[in-house]
Symmetry: D2
Subunit: 247 residues, 4 copies
């Protein structure tokens, strides 16, 4: 495979969406994988490298400014001359679903910090690189994408420690789209509405048709389609769901 | 070019978005162009045919049930064995912007009938064909797409004869997505938010950067990206705007 | 009861919400009731007059410009000196719920014309009177209120001939709020989300708690609360639903 | 004035909205004022008591679980037999508006903790009392109201440390409405969209009409109108803005 001209960084690369996005973006870029532990990124990195792509993982906790800063410095050392073409925040967020009076403020903080504070810290680390990339005439506009969920659009019962962080992340992505769009960074929020087809969900929804779970590879294609949009023609928000989903 | 396996029909193919969508979908399909007068589709049809694609135009008034029915019958006669892979409603709608008290109920009806009644009639003609296509294992799920506008999401002053029709069309597309999604038809509403770069708008917004108008070809790429989504992973709504747009 | 200083006109006054609103507004105003047939307004008018209030009904078809114009002229003749304090559009709309392919374009037109065209014609007749009232220092700002429904906010399966008209009416009310708010007219859209407690719905939802239907009198109180807002502090949209409603 | 039958607690009672709400609710209830420092609640408490009402303030930091718990215990000691009729979260939130790259993660946390964590902690303290009140047949359904802002509905440039907390608070209020509505608690989110007329904003917007700022007393009337709604007929969300506001 030809040497890559630019880099893509993906935070949150467990099996499923993150890995699929990484593989898709590896078709054009060196990919940098961020996860709390090497166990989360090693197999994806190996798979990409084995297929002739270029991937490297760094351990980073997105809720910890120093940790994220450090990972971006490692990235710069590793790829000193290459522009950052895409930064994708795909961290799932702590999922608590319980009666409200059984939740506690620590769960609320954790829910918020994974989804929203993590997105904030990641965006602050990525944006200076993406701004620099704007002037380097990349193949596609530098992109900052956030993986959202149904819970980013409506709150349901017992979702008080999950939805607020997702709402906050969506808000953040909208502010960033409006602030950095005119500067040339493509900010998008992708709402994944439904169950994703992963190893973990294999046994779930046995009575539904076989193809009623969202395909991680097809999600990755949608991220890639948005990334390819020229800046005359950008999308901020898109919803993604299986054909059988009620909404 | 290889013979096409399926057909795409596009209503509303003046210069700009409609023509660009037609050309894009012509890469895989025979395209059928509907417009009120041949003058609106002839140059696009010629351009596609000259480039080795296959296009044919039929005159049809989307507000007239008999006229649309007739055009679909012509289509079936012309391509008797081929599934309908995509039906795209891209009719611009009558645009009235005046102080409310200077508008009249005829303008209101016209605004509504172009945007909403036309979409209804087009959908009723297309859906039986799209349903049949579901069983014919097409390359991509049969798609029914509607071109929307900012005015589909919010009403502004003096927009009383334009926005309501666009709201109604968006509502229609949502109902159809929920009713026919489970049956295998991919229904989407694409919100074009900003000025499109066409001959007509050439001189407009002279003080803005050169690339501050939406590219019809890039819009067409986005339609194509949605059309390619497998049914595990569909989008109902997407916004499209230039990087400098305030929103 | 003291002589009234101003007039309120209500279109759509069958039993239920319309009658309740009329009775509430009769506490301060002469009320004018519009309905297609006297049978629809007679009992409410009688009830108000018997209770010492002042009510008069005029037959009018809101989809017919001449008919509405005529009713407003009758109103002016009857109350030549009095400002119009409130105009309330509460016409229910034709409700079709069927599989899309069993609907026809005439139903679509009818659905649209009752909800949206009727609202347009009513607003055009009322606004000149409301603008005049602004300068007459009424007790409360002249108000133009529209009764909306869940279907104004989201489309569902088989709602293709009902939701679009409601979306369109909501759009109209938003444009009018933005155009005439600065001129001193308070435009609101009230979303009634749930079953209203009327004679007709008496037997429905037998398994639900007794108080699980919306109270027409409580709806009327909410309309009245909005009408009382000073122009420093207006509401455009409000949702109204019973405590047990899922949403 | 007659002895009060129930209690209302208001968090965030600086001059302006909080004080106006407290005074309005004091017409029927003993009011408990929560603020970080006595300086914030003393003058409002005095004003209510001097007018023959009943008000008491407790110092509490809504971001601190122990502090809020303690204040609610004080409340219970002070009014041991009385149901809690209303709990209103009116804490303004830390307002940062700066270019994103000049913000830091501590500001993001603070913005979130004031608006969202504070609301969570307050709701957890209030809901057990409100649930108990449901069975005590109060004059009006026990209410839990949140003061929101435009920034709860859309993110703007440079609002990355303010909007996310407001989005999160709105999400929380929606989840709570859906979880505790069926149990009899009326949860509402009131979107204040515009400049409020307070001492602080006196000099602002000098070129606008005199009545172009939102009246705190009229806001309080709107809160009161929602509080009076019977549970057949509740509102979750309402917008409040001056007639001249662009939106």
């Amino acid at each position: 495979m030809a040497a890559k001209q630019a880099v893509a960084v993906i935070a949150g690369v467990g099996p499923g969406t993150g890995a699929a996005i990484a593989k898709k973006f590896a078709s054009l870029y060196d990919v940098v994988l961020l996860a709390r532990t090497p166990a989360s990124y090693e197999s994806t990195a190996k798979e990409i490298n084995d297929a002739g792509g270029s991937a490297i993982g760094f351990s980073a906790d997105v809720q910890d400014e120093a940790s994220v800063k450090n990972a971006f410095e490692e990235m710069t050392k590793k790829f000193p001359e290459k522009p950052l073409a895409a930064a994708i925040f795909n961290v799932g967020g702590a999922f608590y679903r319980k009666p409200f009076l059984e939740l506690d403020s620590q769960m609320f903080k954790t829910g918020f910090e994974t989804s929203a504070l993590g997105a904030f810290i990641f965006a602050q680390a990525a944006i200076p690189h993406l701004l620099k990339a704007v002037d380097q005439s990349p193949a596609h506009p530098p992109s900052l994408f956030f993986t959202g969920a149904t819970a980013a659009l409506k709150g349901g019962p017992q979702m008080e420690c999950f939805s607020p962080g997702k709402f906050a992340q969506r808000s953040l992505s909208q502010s960033l789209a409006k602030e950095f769009g005119p500067a040339g960074i493509h900010v998008s929020h992708l709402v994944v509405d439904g169950l994703i087809d992963t190893k973990k969900t294999k046994g779930w929804m046995k009575d539904a048709p076989e193809d009623s779970k969202i395909s991680p590879d097809a999600i990755a294609e949608t991220y890639w389609a948005l990334h390819q949009q020229p800046r005359t023609t950008w999308t901020w928000e898109i919803d993604i769901r299986p054909y059988v989903e009620k909404w």
